[in-house]
């Protein structure tokens, strides 16, 4: 699926997105609030959904080479997080939906 489909499905607010982000392809979704868990994932074209709204969430996603981070649960995204997303040039969205609902919505697109 494309990142734009994800943004639409989650009615996401885009805080930062690399150039041409709409067409970025996402093949796997990883949902966790534990960064230690994110750090165990090594898939390509990955998206991280988390309700942990900290700079470490962005860093961890960057470390494993994730394409995008979605902050779920209507959490506040700080300026520091946006700055970091820009520095790493990783897409940063937020959604009002909880993580469970976000997973279900993306699962539908992926035909799960």
């Amino acid at each position: 699926m494309r990142l734009i489909q994800i943004a639409d499905a989650l009615e996401a607010e885009v805080h930062h997105a690399p150039k041409g982000w709409e067409q970025i392809s996402i093949e796997s979704v990883f949902a966790s609030d534990l960064m230690s868990d994110v750090l165990m994932s090594d898939r390509d074209e990955m998206l991280v959904i988390t309700s942990l709204s900290t700079e470490q969430s962005i860093r961890s996603a960057g470390i494993v080479g994730s394409e995008a981070v979605i902050i779920a649960n209507n959490k506040t995204v700080t300026d520091g997080m946006i700055a970091l997303a820009k520095e790493l040039d990783i897409a940063l969205f937020c959604t009002i939906f909880p993580k469970y609902e976000s997973c279900i919505r993306l699962g539908r697109i992926m035909g799960l």
């Binding site: 949902a31 966790s32 534990l34 959904i49 649960n73 993580k99 469970y100 279900i104 799960l112």
Partner: protein, 114 residues
Amino acid sequence: MKISDIQSLEGFACLQGEYTDTQVQDGYTSDLLSDVMAHAEEDSVLITIQAHKNTVAVSSLVGVVAIIVCSNRPATDDMLEAAREEGIAVFQTDGNQFQTSSLIAQHLASCPAR
């Protein structure tokens, strides 16, 4: 969907089976216990990788009836002990939180609670 239906899903194992087999109303996916505390609904199933005692304490407070531990993470003995005391079911699956959330949502939709 009843709690016992979870057990028959593929790739699921029951780690703590002493519970009253009630209807599951909803799902909640989180590893942040403060979020579970604030947002999880009564009679829901918690999808998480936080397999320790505090997860049970919070679940019991908000009325979560079953905990699904994802990615085959090991559950501590004191977690299962606490869950037994509280009558909360604990399951383990090899699926991750994303997959498990979708799976549970489908089963909730196909056999809705009355």
